[in-house]
């Protein structure tokens, strides 16, 4: 008759092998977590810097517009009036009619027409 296998010894072996694997996996998982935390911190830092630069850019743009509001408005008005004048010229209106509508000198409309 063959001896009965030592089941307890088999069980201990199974447990030991698996415990070692789990220990290693948990250690790897902890390292992975630390790396992910560090990545998250880097992303947060990047976001903070971008936000700060965005705010600085907003203020710089507001300052610029504030300082040049008059010229910018005049430029926009001229640009839009030229656009309207061109469309009205294309629709057949005369420079004099357009000048009256836009309240601008006829010579200016004629210049638009030439360009």
């Amino acid at each position: 008759m063959q001896p009965t296998p030592d089941f307890e010894a088999y069980a201990r072996t199974l447990q030991r092998v698996m415990q070692a694997a789990v220990d290693e996996a948990e250690s790897l998982r902890d390292q992975a977590r630390a790396e992910r935390d560090a990545a998250h911190a880097d992303r947060m830092s990047a976001q903070d810097i971008l936000h700060e630069l965005d705010q600085a850019g907003r203020i710089a743009a507001q300052d610029y517009v504030q300082q040049h509001r008059r010229e910018l408005n005049a430029q926009l008005r001229l640009e839009l009036q030229a656009l309207v004048a061109t469309k009205l010229l294309n629709s057949g209106q005369t420079a004099a009619e357009i000048a009256e509508t836009l309240q601008v000198p006829a010579a200016w409309v004629e210049r638009v027409q030439k360009t």
Partner: protein, 267 residues
């Protein structure tokens, strides 16, 4: 029976292993004399019924073969656990590196980012100013009698309609019309506007129930003085009367006579 007890103990060991970690679990179960053992996703069936029911235990060599198979599969499962851990760490390292590079890229290019943000906000503000200027010009063009303002300034019809409402333009036939008021002492002028048409009528204070009298050409002189077809006279005078009540004398009434519009007190 001794063999059976050993199998039960073995199962207990595996059951205890269930709590060892998140990624691996071992589970043993015995149910109504039928048993099995599960490692991870792999299940190994043991002939528990046979062990339990038979009076004679199976040959010990059979147990050895079964348990050897378990050992092999256990090692495979353990390796799978390690591989999964290494894979997870590798992915985390890639993620970290990407985040680090992104941060370093921003730190190294602060000036460029600042210039881009400044330009972006400048464009937004200029866009708002342009929009505002378009509305100003739209109003000026509408007041100058232009009909195609949407197309001229590329503005939505809804916005043009809002401006028209704000400056009191309403539909009269196929065109928009409006009335302008000027005071000059006891009286003043009421100007009817439609497109390029502009008709100016004198108005004076009334007497009695009449609050105000707007002098208009009679039918005979209408077309000569207004350049508006006689067929439209009634509609134009009604429009002026309604507008005057709306903007100058709320709650009053009006009456159209042969050469005037009379604004009347309600009682």
């Amino acid at each position: 029976m001794a063999n059976w007890m050993n199998v039960v103990n073995l199962c207990r060991c595996w059951r205890d292993a269930n709590n060892m970690g998140e990624t691996f679990y071992a589970r043993a179960f015995i149910l109504q004399g039928v048993g099995g053992v599960k490692f991870g996703r792999q299940e190994i069936s043991l002939p528990f019924r046979k062990i339990f029911m038979e009076t004679e235990p199976p040959h010990a060599g059979e147990y050895a073969a079964i348990l050897q198979k378990m050992l092999t599969e256990n090692e495979t499962a353990a390796e799978a656990v390690r591989v999964a851990g290494r894979q997870d760490l590798a992915e985390a390292l890639v993620e970290r590196e990407a985040a680090r590079e992104h941060l370093q890229g921003i730190q190294a290019n602060r000036d460029r980012y600042l210039a881009e943000y400044t330009e972006q906000h400048r464009r937004e503000l200029l866009g708002q100013m342009r929009r505002s200027m378009q509305e100003t010009l739209a109003q000026e063009l509408l007041e100058a009698g232009e009909d195609e303002v949407e197309a001229l300034l590329d503005l939505p019809k809804r916005e043009i309609d809002d401006i028209r409402m704000r400056i009191g333009q309403r539909k009269l036939g196929k065109q928009f019309a409006w009335v302008e008021y000027e005071s000059a002492g006891r009286g003043g002028y009421v100007t009817f506007r439609r497109g390029k048409t502009r008709c100016r009528f004198w108005h004076d204070l009334g007497a009695g129930k009449a609050l105000m009298v707007i002098e208009v050409p009679d039918e005979a002189r209408w077309e000569t003085e207004t350049s508006i077809p006689l067929a439209e006279r009634e509609a134009v005078l009604r429009f002026i009367g309604e507008d005057t009540i709306l903007h100058q004398a709320p709650g009053h009434l009006f009456r159209i006579d042969s050469n005037s519009i009379v604004i009347l007190a309600p009682f």
